[in-house]
Symmetry: C2
Subunit: 357 residues, 2 copies
């Protein structure tokens, strides 16, 4: 599998990305990497990691980078030679089997939509991410790709999550919940009330509305929401976990007995940190695309980027996109007009961006 990695994406790029690529090449012998970035800016880090082009590593030049503060859509139009656009173009032209970026999420979503295309019948792709819960894990979708959604979007996200859970959690009929502010069907906002009606009529294992407590105590395998809410849940969970570690540390440092106790129980703290350290989870797939795009956490560590490469490799090997198309059709929730969508990842012409390959 050939994975196009955006070397310039992430808060600590390109250093962290190059380090992760070096690790991945050692650890995953079946992975070929196309490292995409500004070659002059990468030279120092490549040398540091003793990385050179070879059978498993190709370097692809990209003149520009989308900076974190830029609007997603204009960034794609204004920066046609950005590293994320080059990555998406490689995938669209069949030169890469998957794309990874830990950079500007909006730009990665926009570039993937434009270059790799959206699946037939799908309105918008969404980010699906694993979240920890007491008693298991759940998939949160959309975790931040779409800030404003329609009820149909939410219904489609349910299918993304269903297929993801079937293929990656091995759950035949995943329990699908809808994020709301009350367990009762009558509660929610205009969006969730309409989505509830559609979900109730789909041939899926819909378990109704879920609130915070339901989610984190594993009463659903897939939790569906708009990307604004999903991102809020993700960020709040990350932040409160981090705040709790800080409060605990401050209280422990107050006296010697507590310090001793904490030392004896340190493995328990490490266990919990590992569960609640979302940054280490690696990448989250952008589902609904005609191809594989993995979005990394902005603050990704080398381990997280390496995990994202592994996830991308797993995804590229399986036929997840076509399974999503089938289920969307089975559930009768196709988005019209279908003329705007391509039906298969037909290799496009060689663009000047990627002609070096």
């Amino acid at each position: 599998m050939r994975i196009a990695v955006d070397a310039m994406g992430g808060d600590y790029a390109p250093a962290v990305v190059v380090e992760a690529v070096a690790d991945a090449l050692r650890m995953f012998p079946d992975v070929d990497i196309l490292l995409v970035g500004h070659l002059e800016k990468l030279a120092y880090y490549l040398q540091k990691e003793h990385l050179k082009e070879g059978p498993h590593l190709k370097l692809v030049h990209a003149e520009e980078v989308v900076e974190m503060g830029e609007p997603s859509t204009t960034s794609i139009r204004a920066k046609k030679h950005s590293s994320i656009t080059v990555c998406a173009t490689l995938a669209a032209e069949g030169k890469a089997d998957a794309v990874i970026s830990a950079g500007h999420t909006g730009a990665a979503v926009a570039a993937s939509k434009v270059k790799m295309r959206i699946l037939k019948g799908v309105d918008r792709p969404a980010i699906a991410t694993f979240m920890p819960a007491v008693g298991g894990r759940f998939i949160l979708v959309d975790a931040g790709a779409n800030t404003d959604c329609t009820p149909l979007n939410l219904a489609q996200f349910a299918i993304f999550g269903e297929v993801y859970a079937q293929m990656f959690l091995n759950i035949e009929k995943p329990r699908i919940g809808l994020i709301s502010v009350g367990g009762e069907d009558i509660k929610g906002n205009e969006l969730t009330k309409e989505a509830f009606k559609i979900l109730s009529n789909m041939p899926i294992n819909f378990v109704g509305n879920v609130e915070g407590h339901d989610m984190f105590f594993h009463s659903a395998d897939v939790v569906v929401c708009d990307g604004f809410s999903g991102n809020l849940v993700l960020k709040t969970a990350e932040s409160i976990a981090s705040a709790i570690r800080q409060w605990l540390k401050e209280s422990i440092m107050k006296n010697a007995i507590r310090k001793t106790g904490a030392l004896l129980a340190q493995q328990a703290f490490a266990d919990v940190k590992a569960i609640s350290n979302f940054e280490e989870y690696g990448g989250a797939p952008l589902l609904g695309l005609n191809g594989v795009c993995i979005i990394g956490h902005g603050a990704s560590t080398p381990k997280a980027v390496r995990n994202a490469i592994k996830v991308a490799n797993d995804f590229a090997k399986r036929g997840l996109p076509s399974r999503i198309s089938t289920r969307i059709a089975e559930c009768g929730i196709q988005f019209a007009p279908p003329t705007q969508h391509s039906t298969a990842a037909e290799p496009q012409q060689n663009s000047p961006l990627t002609k070096q390959l």
Copy 2:
């Protein structure tokens, strides 16, 4: 101060409420309580707590209760003799200085709006709640009263939070942030992007968009959002805190050394639990009303209800509603048409509901 307490509101009502009232009467000698509920159903609990009518306690009968699963608005129309409606009517008629309910939030909001009326220039009241952060506390508003909001609503919520922070946190110019999915001004959904523009032009200390990490590391004193998002933040924070305690416990129980360590450090765990145990925070005011209404957590403990009584007493003594009206006018963000709103808490006629007083 006379506080009308909804005896039937909350997951463990009326037992917990009656216990809290008994405690409050002992602890706060300046509080008079009007305990509102079905007198037959209360009798057992009153006897258990040795509570009888007296100079500081009046019992008020209410025939009905709004159950948790009922729609808010129809519940108010269909159950005109519910305990929450009787509480709000007592306040509207000047027989109570404040109202408390830990029951159906939507019903409490609806009853307060109808009976106590909304402040002049205000479109909708909102729930403001204290949240813990590393380095201080912040006020989250709206924490769940309005699932669908307009940009003007969010601008008004900012004023509710500003006045609350000024009067209860003693901060002269509270830093006001807007919940969004990105620190950059360009990020957010349609609602927050419009609200951002209004907030930027108001004479307040607006610090821009805030995300999870900003919130829980205290980069704003007041955090503004729609009630759906606010409730999601509140529930997610509560739940992940509870999940972390569970994970920690499971890991600690795995061996004796960890158990010993946890025992030595137990005060640190207790400290953190106290910070992150939202249920104990007591009541959250519904701001924007022409009067005082305190909403309790559904799962309120006796301590939480007692705290809510204390908060209600504090609120009733201060002139918070009039200060909100003034600031709304100063900021030029009045809601039209004003004809639907009353200007002052004019005592209304005695209704059959409350004629017993």
